[in-house]
């Protein structure tokens, strides 16, 4: 009988590989089977690591430079006692021997069991001592590594199986290209690790509950990153089935890649530029591979929040320069920091409602130095690389903010010699207020980009992270469709309109944008071939007709039906495509 688990599809693709189990308390621990002949060596390795750890702590105690208080000495002594503990060592050695498992994992397992035993102890002081167990485990683990550094080499065709995976570890493991897939117990779509997995194009599934305790090391695992499904222990017939699915997927991919080479052109030759949204600069490679014609939005939040401090001018310069690496793109769009009070380390100004708080351009205009540093880095790249950058200002709700921002941009720009056609400035239209002012806004900037995720949230006054509001937060809501229509009605002729946000990669929403006459769609790179293929099956006239009809409808179900009907009728190979709907 095969085993199957379903989680959240994080990064698309289909892959097969051998499980590498890693666990993450504070340090990462891997699980590895050992041969009978290796048991003695493994036990020795453990004992040596324990001795080494004991020596380290004793040295700390004796180091004259450290003026330890008596309490600290007692804690160090307590740690030494744990290291000397016969029960602990005995159980670890027992686990290594009986389960034929590596020392790191055995230690981790014993300590996890111990901590469960202590969980019922109500004494707070005693509870705190639990932390010492982990501290000791980490020290021993570190020393185990030191004794055998080769343990952590990643073999080819590896599927990482983890309880949780930090972004740093994800990068570390996936660097050599041997990781085919990632499956974890925890995590969700917006986690940094998810972002990295997508950027590296590694099929990934998260929120699989207890996958890390269900899978054996080395087990062959099938990862379907489209459906969010993991399978293992498959029998012969299922294996054949999965292999068929895999080859179907491969040919589907091949078809998609054919589409990725196309331009976004409708049947009646209307051209829409299809670009990629990215979250880390190294994603440009995947974006180009999937057929992006540019970067429609580089979100800079990950760059700003992945370290303890905001990046310096030089760090930002190096990062933005990456976008032009290998000359993949001639023009990229950098959205200035769109950060809210909820994302900033300094919690001294906790806001009741960060989505409506000091975020986006509001934050940049208050923290003018941070804004200027980012602009400096952008101009420095334009100057040195002689490439085009579009600056995108987020969360604009009034004209004043645009005027102030443009003044700052002009002021900083004076320090650089930049070709005038190498810089353009645009505004994200994501508040109903900006929609109402879109005519005036469009006259002040070079382009507008409709941020659909936030526009939906602010139009419907419904928090998009609140799962109970799922029915309200729909791109097919009549008010959302009318908002979009209002934008295309109000903007001066020839205004360059781009669409970003989830709506841009929703096939059903395509007719809306084609009818609006948008010039650009910017989306997750992996949606690009699919959207390009859909555009090729649609015509401007069909879309206008359908959208006109939609504007008279009053419920989101009706609108969704209307739009999806058009797609179903017009799109070739719609059914096979839906098998792999992301």
């Amino acid at each position: 009988m095969s085993i199957e688990k379903n989680g959240i599809a994080i990064s698309p693709g289909f892959s097969v590989g051998n499980a590498l189990l890693i666990n993450q308390a504070k340090t990462v621990v891997e699980k590895r089977k050992i041969k009978t002949s290796e048991i003695v060596m493994e036990v020795n390795r453990f004992q040596e690591a324990v001795e080494e750890s004991k020596d380290e702590i004793s040295n700390m105690k004796q180091n004259k430079n450290n003026e330890y208080k008596i309490e600290h000495i007692e804690i160090l002594d307590f740690n030494i006692l744990i290291l000397e503990d016969e029960i602990l060592a005995g159980e670890v050695i027992d686990t290594i021997t009986k389960k034929q498992i590596n020392a790191e994992w055995a230690l981790n397992k014993v300590l996890t069991n111990k901590s469960k035993e202590f969980a019922f102890v109500k004494d707070l002081y005693m509870q705190e001592r639990l932390a010492d167990f982990y501290y000791i485990a980490e020290r021993i683990t570190k020393n185990l590594r030191g004794l055998n550094k080769n343990l952590f080499e990643i073999k080819s065709n590896t599927i990482l199986v983890a309880h949780d995976l930090s972004p740093i570890d994800a990068l570390k493991y996936c660097r050599n290209g041997n990781v085919n897939g990632i499956v974890t117990d925890l995590g969700g779509t917006t986690s940094h690790t998810a972002i990295i997995a997508r950027s590296l194009g590694i099929p990934t599934i998260m929120s699989l509950l207890n996958i890390s305790t269900s899978v054996e090391p080395g087990q062959r695992i099938y990862v379907d990153g489209y459906k969010g499904r993991v399978k293992w222990k498959v029998n012969k017939s299922e294996k054949d089935e999965l292999n068929t699915l895999q080859s179907k997927y491969t040919s589907f991919q091949k078809n998609l890649f054919e589409f990725s080479k196309l331009s976004g052109e409708t049947k009646d030759k209307k051209i829409i530029s299809i670009k990629a949204n990215i979250e880390i600069s190294s994603e440009v490679k995947m974006a180009q591979k999937y057929g992006a014609e540019g970067i429609g939005m580089y979100r800079t939040e990950f760059l700003f929040t992945s370290k303890e401090q905001f990046p310096s001018l030089d760090e930002q310069y190096e990062d933005y320069k990456e976008l032009f690496k290998e000359n993949l793109f001639n023009e990229v769009t950098i959205r200035t920091l769109d950060i809210g009070g909820d994302k900033i380390q300094d919690y001294s100004h906790l806001e009741n409602n960060p989505a409506l708080g000091l975020r986006g351009i509001r934050y940049s205009l208050v923290n003018i130095d941070i804004f200027k540093t980012q602009l400096n880095a952008i101009f420095k790249v334009i100057e040195s690389e002689k490439k085009k950058i579009r600056i995108l200002l987020p969360m604009i709700s009034n004209i004043d903010e645009i005027d102030k921002s443009l003044l700052v941009i002009d002021e900083v720009r004076k320090n650089y010699s930049i070709d005038s056609n190498h810089l353009s400035v645009g505004v994200v239209i994501e508040t109903p207020s900006a929609v109402l002012l879109v005519e005036e806004i469009s006259k002040k900037v070079n382009f507008i980009s409709v941020g659909t995720n936030d526009l939906i949230q602010y139009t419907l006054a419904a928090d998009r992270t609140n799962e109970t509001l799922e029915n309200i937060i729909s791109p097919y809501q009549p008010s959302v469709v009318r908002m979009l229509n209002l934008i295309s009605d109000k903007v001066p002729a020839n205004t360059y309109i781009s669409i970003c946000g989830e709506m841009a990669n929703d096939i059903n929403c395509l007719p809306l944008f084609i009818a609006m006459g948008v010039r650009e769609l910017s989306m997750n790179y992996y949606s690009i071939p699919r959207i390009k293929s859909a555009i090729h099956d649609l015509s401007f006239n069909d879309c206008v007709e359908t959208v006109q009809h939609c504007l008279n409808l009053t419920t989101h179900e009706e609108i969704k039906n209307e739009l999806s009907q058009l797609i179903r009728n017009k799109m070739k190979g719609y059914d096979s495509m839906m098998d792999y709907e992301v």
Binding site: E74, D77, L81, I82, E84, D85, I87, E117, V121
Partner: protein
């Protein structure tokens, strides 16, 4: 030999007291165990003692077994009697 006592120090067998006890018991040739109700643990193990979670007023039974069991018992008892130096 076995002997029952009641924990008399305020903090019970917390980390510091346990450390002292373990350091003492490891000097003896005899096995030393402590039981609380059904639960019996090796008193030479810090983890064992901590898992006992013996607090003030709890009755425990000490057992020493081996060549120096009498000496071991009297030393252990006097450590408990001294309230692990806590109150001094």
């Amino acid at each position: 030999m076995k002997k029952k006592i009641r924990i008399s120090n305020r903090l019970g067998l917390h980390a510091r007291a346990s450390s002292k006890l373990v350091r003492l018991t490891n000097n003896f040739k005899s096995d030393v165990s402590i039981s609380k109700g059904e639960l019996a643990i090796n008193a030479k193990s810090i983890l064992g003692i901590l898992s006992l979670a013996a607090s003030l007023g709890v009755e425990i039974e000490i057992e020493t077994k081996g060549d120096d069991e009498e000496f071991a018992m009297s030393e252990v008892i006097s450590l408990f009697d001294s309230k692990f130096g806590e109150e001094s």
